[in-house]
């Protein structure tokens, strides 16, 4: 092996001998200066009867070098300039012949017009929305079938999913809700102190956490944690043809993979929401005591007076809807994977973005409905 970085390659025109002297390493590493050298040479008028291309000083030639040598010859041919190639070893000669056989005609990339690309992109989105709707419908049909025929349920997969997406999420959801309770309590406390209305912190913290923030917070964290995991798992299984293998064995992938995830999510997320409620209110209580001097006892005593069961239930009933969004979007995007690794990454990202987007849209719709019916 020669060290290919040592010497660059050269092409030199010696006018009085009508010779082109080629030297150095005509390899992929040494050939960088050649491109320019050949271009410059071609703009020059050579003005001789026959050009002698002297290859004796070429130390190494690989296919890149042979390609450039061939290009040089082609240039000369186009100018109807006769030439002789001398000093090329047999091995290099056969390489040149091999390269010469590979005529490359670059194909211009087909690029659609702007308007048609806009149309295609729009249609792709509409199509995806329709497919998501169809997938949701299919999920419901199979879910009901499984509920009425419980032996069709994959209990092991269900419990494993409850553990992974529910129990394992407890620490992070607990911590973040607690901190959120502190943040809300602090902001509310500063304002309430101005009016001497310290005790109203109970209403503020409890109602915001229970009705809005806990369900939303839990759902967003779970979407990031588990929705992405669903998409990545199903996507990888699709790439490795595991899902096709399941079909051929006679297992419906929907029953084996999707339904346990949807059911596990429907069980876990409401429970996680209750947990987030508790920790969030606890955070508010800590700030109420340290900042506003309200005892835990007084805080607790006021909760039943101001927080109705309806407020609590309104928050909890959002959770199953969010759960459905997370599980269905995650599985749907996972099953849309086609091709390889990059597709898995793309669909996983889409699954999280889409799930969080839909969660917030759903929450807004809830708010509109609740204000419409006055609760």
């Amino acid at each position: 092996m020669v060290d290919r970085d040592m010497e660059q390659s050269h092409v030199q025109w010696i006018a009085n001998g009508s010779r082109l002297v080629l030297s150095g390493n005509w390899t992929v590493y040494g050939a960088a200066p050649l491109e320019k050298g050949i271009e410059q040479l071609m703009t020059k008028s050579l003005d001789v009867d026959r050009v002698i291309i002297d290859c004796q000083q070429i130390q190494a030639l690989d296919s890149a070098g042979a390609w450039l040598l061939n290009r040089l010859c082609q240039h000369l041919q186009q100018r109807h300039q006769p030439y002789d190639l001398i000093g090329l070893s047999d091995k290099h000669q056969s390489l040149l012949v091999l390269v010469k056989q590979q005529q490359v005609v670059p194909v211009p990339a087909a690029r659609a017009a702007r308007l048609s690309r806009l149309g295609q992109a729009t249609w792709a989105h509409i199509e995806q929305a329709l497919q998501l709707l169809a997938f949701l419908g299919e999920t419901f049909v199979i879910l009901f079938r499984c509920i009425f025929q419980p032996r069709r349920l994959r209990w092991n997969a269900l419990f494993a999913n409850v553990e992974q997406s529910g129990i394992n999420a407890l620490p992070i959801i607990g911590l973040l809700s607690f901190l959120l309770g502190i943040v809300i309590g602090y902001q509310a406390g500063v304002q309430l102190q101005l009016y001497g209305a310290n005790i109203f912190i109970v209403e503020l913290v409890c109602l915001t956490m229970l009705r809005e923030l806990s369900p939303m917070m839990a759902a967003v964290i779970v979407a990031g944690r588990s929705g992405s995991a669903f998409a990545a798992q199903l996507g990888t299984m699709k790439v490795t043809e595991e899902i096709d293998a399941m079909r051929t064995i006679g297992i419906a992938p929907m029953e084996m993979l999707v339904i346990p995830k949807v059911l596990a999510m429907l069980i876990a997320l409401p429970l996680l929401t209750v947990f987030a409620d508790v920790l969030g209110v606890l955070g508010g209580m800590v700030i109420a005591k340290t900042m506003l001097g309200i005892d835990f006892k007084d805080f607790f005593a006021r909760i039943p007076e101001v927080v109705t069961l309806t407020s609590f239930m309104l928050g909890i009933m959002k959770a199953p809807v969010f759960a459905l969004i997370i599980a269905v979007v995650g599985c749907f995007q996972g099953l849309r994977v086609a091709g390889g690794a990059d597709s898995v990454g793309r669909q996983t990202t889409i699954s999280v973005v889409q799930a969080i987007f839909l969660i917030i849209v759903a929450d807004a719709i809830f708010s509109i409905i609740f204000s419409g019916i006055g609760i």
Binding site: W67, V104, V107
Partner: protein
Amino acid sequence: MTGQSDDAVNKQVMIQVRGLITRFGHETIHDGIDLDIFKGEIIGLVGGSGSGKSTLLRALTMLLQPSGGSIKIGPHELIGIDEASASELRRHMGVMFQQGALFSSLTVLQNVCVPLKEHTQLSIQLIQQLGLMKLKLVGLTEQAADKYPKHLSGGMIKRVAVARALALDPDILFLDEPSAGLDPISAHALDELILQLREALGLTVIIVTHDIDSLWRLTDRVAFLGEKRLLAVADLKTLSQHHHPLIHEYFQGPRGRAAQVN
């Protein structure tokens, strides 16, 4: 391509393996392997499943650090090699993986151009032309250049993988099961291609394969791995008459004999 005369080249040792030991945990894969691979030859690595062919290939391509022994490529010792020398040495090697291992986010042409973009200072136009030339060299058309790997057939993927392995005109080409999963016509065409490339580019080729037809067509010598060691290295004709029970079984089984007749 060092420009030496052919006679000297024929005897030059390209890769020297001495006392190679590979272990995964308590499981020993190789227990003292000695092998010389000469410049310009096509050598086959064969053996039953689990005999450590692919592991040996991974050790030779520096994807795995063996537990003991020595591997020399040219003057460089691979055991305990530093990252800079390894990277330099890798430019002289092309590896084709069993499943192709094409980058799925890149088109065929971009896949072939990756090594050229990383390691050379050539202009992007020239790189693309060289990439297209390599694709033509392995028998693909310009139409395939803009396709993504997911749209290719198995045979095309293997061809693109060979083109990518050849991008930098390596001295050594490693092929892991090149003909596995190919139809007989594509497999034959790939064999022809490898022979043609060896002739034109002076490659040293190391092939792991189960395809006995390919072994007969391609290899100058074949190394047989078994019982954690190298049982024999010889040209296929000699090897197929070898008396060791494992080798005998391998080549004198019904399929081995059928290939021999052809």
